[in-house]
């Protein structure tokens, strides 16, 4: 495989609140390649969104990146560590939106209600290119057509509230692609949408990826969406990566007890009617009260007292690009 376009190493982002320190992301490492989709999946508080915000350097106070590297290969071939850049400096502003596009969950609140779709698109286009207003407007109409919006020449003058949820999310995708980025981060892009609209948006992202060789980071809580879209998967729990690997291994040979339990607890349209679901006992702990040792141990069916509640497991390779952090899989003796 080619060189990764984005390399994240040991990323840690903590939130320093009055009540204590929340380790929202605690040592995330993964590679992202052109033309491939990396899925980051987990439940609330697992750190998946903070990971995305860290890459874009838009973590809000009291949050701060406390360690690690985010190595982006720029179009010139030069590799920069985004952690070392000032978050509002010129270089970071070029990268954010210019080289890394972002699609948020909530298209209603991420689009301005005071400006037409066209005005927002033209601003994004001109910010990252030298196009004239007229040329940028033509480009905006092209982009709206690209994301499958009917009658783009009229819709360019519409306000976001005049559009349906699906069309708004298409506008968000058009905005994210305005500056022709190589990396697209989609944070729960279909969570607020109905299933038939979700199918449209997922298809759109997959098509654009094929056409433009985009590297996509797809963040979601929905294992179904991951199974449909991802090539590689990172499973997170309470700020920690618990398992990562190729999508087929994660779904058909999961090794971490959390991945295994999570997969068993998903309702499925293929299940027998009224079948009871397998459950994970308890609930996700408060982020300020993260358990010692392995954060999953209080809910883990395989927890080993004296070990899992004391030592934090390290990541162990258990197969082809398949890694897990669990004491069940001992470190190979070097």
């Amino acid at each position: 495989m080619a060189e990764p376009i984005l390399r994240v190493r040991d990323l840690s982002t903590y939130f320093f609140a009055d009540e204590g320190v929340v380790r929202a992301v605690d040592g995330a490492s993964f590679d992202l390649y052109a033309g491939r989709t990396l899925g980051i999946v987990g439940e609330s508080g697992c750190g998946k969104s903070v990971t995305a915000r860290s890459i874009l350097r838009i973590v809000e106070r009291p949050g701060r990146i406390v360690g690690g590297e985010i190595l982006l290969r720029r179009p010139s071939g030069q590799v920069v560590d985004l952690v070392g850049l000032p978050s509002d400096g010129q270089q970071m502003r070029q990268i954010r939106g210019g080289e890394i596009g972002l699609v948020f969950q909530e298209p209603m609140s991420s689009l301005s209600a005071f400006h037409t779709v066209g005005v927002q698109l033209i601003e994004a286009i001109r910010l990252h290119s030298g196009l004239s207003k007229k040329a940028a407007r033509d480009r905006a109409i092209e982009l709206l057509a690209l994301v499958g919006i009917p009658r783009p020449a009229q819709r360019v003058d519409a306000y976001s509230f005049e559009l349906s949820g699906g069309l708004r999310q298409r506008v968000m995708v058009a905005l994210a692609l305005a500056a022709e980025p190589h990396v697209l981060i989609a944070d729960e892009p279909t969570t607020a949408l109905d299933v038939t609209t979700q199918a449209q948006i997922l298809e759109l992202i997959a098509r654009l990826q094929r056409e433009r060789d985009l590297a996509v980071i797809l963040i979601t809580h929905d294992m179904g969406v991951i199974a449909e879209m991802a090539d590689d998967v990172v499973v997170m729990y309470l700020g920690k990566e618990v398992e990562k690997g190729p999508v087929d291994a994660i779904f058909h040979a999961p090794r971490h007890p959390y991945t295994q339990s999570l997969l068993r607890s998903i309702p499925s349209v293929l299940a027998e009617p009224r079948a009871r679901l397998a459950t994970i006992s308890g609930s996700i702990p408060h982020p300020l009260a993260r358990p010692a040792g392995c954060p999953f141990h209080p809910r883990c069916p395989d927890a080993m007292p004296g070990r899992c509640d004391v030592d934090t497991p390290v990541e162990v390779t258990i197969g082809d690009n398949h890694v897990t952090a669990c004491h069940l899989y001992p470190e190979p003796v070097a």
Partner: protein, 337 residues
């Protein structure tokens, strides 16, 4: 399953669209437009559909949170007599309120933060006349046990609980008065997967234990598969298909049901679906298309579908479809494991 607890016949709810200074009525949003179904004692009927299809408006009419425009909502009391809830006034409704309860979607906004758990669950008991504090306390403890929460939690406030625990408290409150019908509007959609499974199982267990009757309103077909005996699919204010759960999923007869099923992402990368991706958006209930509401997005639509409005027709015992071509089409469902 015996006589229906609830029978809805030709229910309509039209909201006026007012315009201008004088509030002139410029049109109507036909949120619910001729909906009929029934629910038997001990049964779960799921009402599914996408946003704006009218499923929540239907449930609010049944609970009489809003007054329907027309139609009948027949609710059977303990003696077996049917009462039409649709036309009752406030006073007439009060004795029925205890018999219909609701479980809400958002466990964070549906519990009063200033009341203890004991007060929240005990309030319906107090309102309906259980004035003896000790009796109430005993009942509240029993309810907590039913929803598998320790009775030590009685004097705590909602903020101390997780989403899943709060949803258990909401269920205990709904059970307090032994209702004949529980309307659950998206009860698990705000919860994390690992917690969602616990609540789905709890609702199934309580139904078996207490013989509850659920009207389950949801958009998530996977959850619906796990809870329902029968499913009704709504589109743009109308029911387009009703069938027993297995039939609806494996042998749908309405093109919208087929498309809806194929759009659900299956958690298995080896089954990446050959999806039917519907074009366009959900029909606008203030200006629905003529004929079959679904025809502009339907790949099987003919000229006739643009003109003629199909009726909900029984094509097999217990399986009703609103499609002119139901008899001739062969549609794809999802295979069981």
């Amino acid at each position: 399953m015996t006589t229906p607890v609830l029978e809805v016949q030709g229910l309509r709810k039209h909201f006026p669209i007012k315009q201008g200074l004088l509030g002139r009525v410029a049109g109507h949003v036909r949120a619910v437009d001729d909906v009929s179904f029934s629910i038997a004692h001990g049964e779960t009927l799921s009402l599914v559909g996408e946003s704006g299809c009218g499923k929540t408006t239907t449930s609010r009419c049944i609970l009489r949170a809003i007054t329907p425009t027309s139609g009948r909502i027949l609710f059977r009391d303990e003696k077996g007599d049917a009462i039409d809830v649709a036309t009752l006034d406030r006073k007439g409704l009060k004795p029925l309120r205890r018999r219909m309860q609701m479980i809400f979607q958002d466990p964070f906004s549906s519990l009063n933060p200033r009341m203890t758990i004991a007060e929240i669950i005990g309030e319906p008991l107090l309102v309906q006349g259980m004035s003896d504090a000790r009796e109430r306390q005993a009942r509240v403890s029993e309810l907590l046990r039913l929803v598998q929460l320790p009775s030590a939690y009685l004097n705590r406030f909602p903020h101390a609980f997780s989403g899943g625990q709060r949803q258990r408290i909401g269920i205990a409150r709904a059970l307090a008065l032994n209702p004949s019908l529980i309307v659950a509007d998206e009860p698990v959609s705000a919860l994390d997967v690992s917690v969602q499974a616990q609540i789905v199982n709890l609702m199934l267990d309580l139904q078996d234990q207490l013989g509850l009757t659920y009207l389950f309103v949801a958009h998530d077909l996977s959850v619906v598969k796990h809870v329902s005996h029968r499913v009704a699919v709504m589109y743009a204010g109308r029911i387009v298909e009703t069938a027993p759960t297995t039939r609806l999923f494996t042998a749908p007869r309405h093109p919208y049901t087929e498309a809806l099923l194929s759009a659900v992402p299956v958690p298995d990368p080896r089954r990446r679906a050959q999806r039917i991706v519907l074009q366009g958006d959900v029909a606008d209930p203030s200006n629905p298309p003529p004929g079959c509401h679904f025809h502009p997005r339907c790949e099987y639509a003919t000229e006739q579908c643009r003109i003629e409005t199909p009726e909900l027709t029984e094509i097999e015992p217990g399986h009703e479809v609103r499609c002119l071509r139901a008899a001739e089409l062969s549609l794809r469902g999802v295979a069981s494991q």
